[in-house]
């Protein structure tokens, strides 16, 4: 793992050595928690043939939407595409392979890799087409579906605040998949608005301990504005 005193780096350096064909987890549920600046750097950096794992496809022309529209994503592992008609279009015309998982199972498959397990047993989806696609096992007379852990080469996460060791604090509903993905990839790149010295974050307030984080990148708060939409309802 990256040494504690070598984690702070600039955004281009963090993204540059991600290879073509990489599997990349991306935090966020809709816009909150989406690492927009890291995704923009990935777009600029040029990697192709990516497999992305994200709860959703953001909205058209923001976040991973940009990468999908640029034809850089081959496979998307997700829960729901409802807010991105371009992603649905790409799926329907066959240019984007999409694998769907129920949202909570997607979260657990990621967490499962993050804690070093191989999979877990669930009853979610029994009696539906979700269960037909997976192997099952009987334990003490109960039939469970086996869900395998979902790993990635890289995770891109967004945190409100960090320190230079890589301790992370998330905020409000910008947490979502970020703490799970921050455990589950070989290399974890965190973007944050503010990088403090070790000791500046209250120990009880840290959501992701630094042990899981490989690199920390400071980004401007304005980078998240691309996710802002008109207030509805």
């Amino acid at each position: 793992m990256t040494l504690l005193n070598q984690k702070v780096c600039d955004i281009e350096a963090a993204i540059a050595d991600i290879p073509d064909g990489a599997t990349i987890m991306v935090g966020g549920f809709g816009s909150p928690g989406t690492p927009f600046a890291l995704l923009d750097a990935l777009l600029a950096s040029g990697q192709r043939d990516l497999t992305l794992i994200k709860n959703d496809a953001n909205e058209p022309s923001i976040g991973i939407g940009k990468l999908i529209e640029a034809g850089r994503v081959t496979h998307l592992i997700t829960s729901h595409l409802g807010l991105n008609r371009f992603a649905i279009e790409a799926m329907n015309n066959g240019t984007l392979k999409v694998s769907f998982h129920p949202q909570g199972l997607l979260a657990e498959k990621i967490r499962c890799a993050g804690v070093g397990h191989g999979g877990f047993l669930t009853d979610i989806g029994q009696g539906t087409e979700i269960a037909e696609a997976r192997r099952s096992i009987d334990v003490d007379g109960v039939t469970w579906g086996i869900e395998a852990a979902l790993q990635a080469d890289v995770a891109l996460v967004h945190a409100e605040r960090a320190d230079r060791y890589g301790n992370l604090i998330y905020r409000a509903t910008a947490s979502n998949f970020n703490p799970l993905m921050a455990m589950a990839a070989d290399r974890v790149i965190a973007q944050t608005y503010r990088i403090d010295e070790p000791g500046d974050l209250p120990i009880d307030a840290i959501h992701t301990p630094c042990a899981f984080v490989s690199q920390v990148v400071q980004v401007d708060r304005a980078s998240s504005q691309q996710g802002v939409r008109p207030h509805d309802l």
Binding site: S79, G104, N176
Partner: protein
């Protein structure tokens, strides 16, 4: 005069018991926010990781880090908490959410629900609907009684891919309030002014109707 939707929402709000944790599905159920009395100890769960959502007051500035699962900017009420997606769904799978309202493409008299996929036409993914439908302690479907072509959505057996089987407790439409029972859908209330015959005609399921105790709404 109040609309059918307003009448359904007013009726649906009466399902909520003081002290409960409630999840509001996307679409019409989300509008129940407007019908929950402020003075109740009720926390609204949203599966993106918040318990205790409330709508922004008019003029209140949105916080870009604070949305519900439908993408609406929300805020929180006293007693709220935020958490990651794993914790959010643990709450759901452990049936710690007491009540959820969901829309339906189809719902049948066995309590089966189909609301996520129309093969060849609509398949944006399952989201959190499957886990909510299967595991929340009480599921109330809130939907129009018929589709836009007038076809019944309340059926003897769902044709579309299921969200979850035998998960629905009660169905509220603009025409009736119906409970799932082993013998069929027990009609507990019928819309003001609607005849029993008109209800039967609009429905493709076994309806149990005892006019002597039939409420109106």
């Amino acid at each position: 005069m109040i609309s059918d939707q307003q009448r359904m929402l007013t009726r649906a709000a009466r399902e909520v018991i003081d002290g409960q944790i409630v999840n509001l599905g996307i679409g019409l159920p989300t509008r129940l926010f407007h019908y929950l009395p402020d003075d109740m100890d009720v926390l609204v769960h949203s599966e993106n990781g918040v318990l205790g959502c409330r709508l922004l007051d008019s003029g209140e500035q949105p916080d870009i880090d604070m949305i519900d699962s439908g993408g609406t900017y929300i805020t929180t009420r006293a007693g709220a908490s935020v958490f990651d997606s794993a914790t959010s769904f643990a709450m759901i799978r452990r049936s710690r959410v007491d009540l959820t309202f969901m829309g339906a493409f189809e719902v049948d008299q066995q309590g089966n629900l189909a609301n996520w996929k129309i093969p060849g036409k609509f398949s944006p993914g399952i989201g959190g609907a499957m886990e909510l439908a299967q595991k929340v302690a009480r599921l109330v479907v809130l939907c129009s009684h018929n589709d836009k072509h007038g076809n019944p959505k309340i059926l003897s057996r769902c044709q579309l891919p299921l969200t979850a089987s035998r998960c629905v407790s009660r169905i509220i439409t603009e025409k009736a309030v119906m409970d799932v029972t082993p013998e069929g859908l027990d009609v507990v209330e019928i819309a003001e002014g609607l005849s029993v015959e008109a209800l039967r005609e609009a429905t493709d399921a076994t309806l149990l109707i005892d006019e002597s105790r039939l409420g109106r709404f």
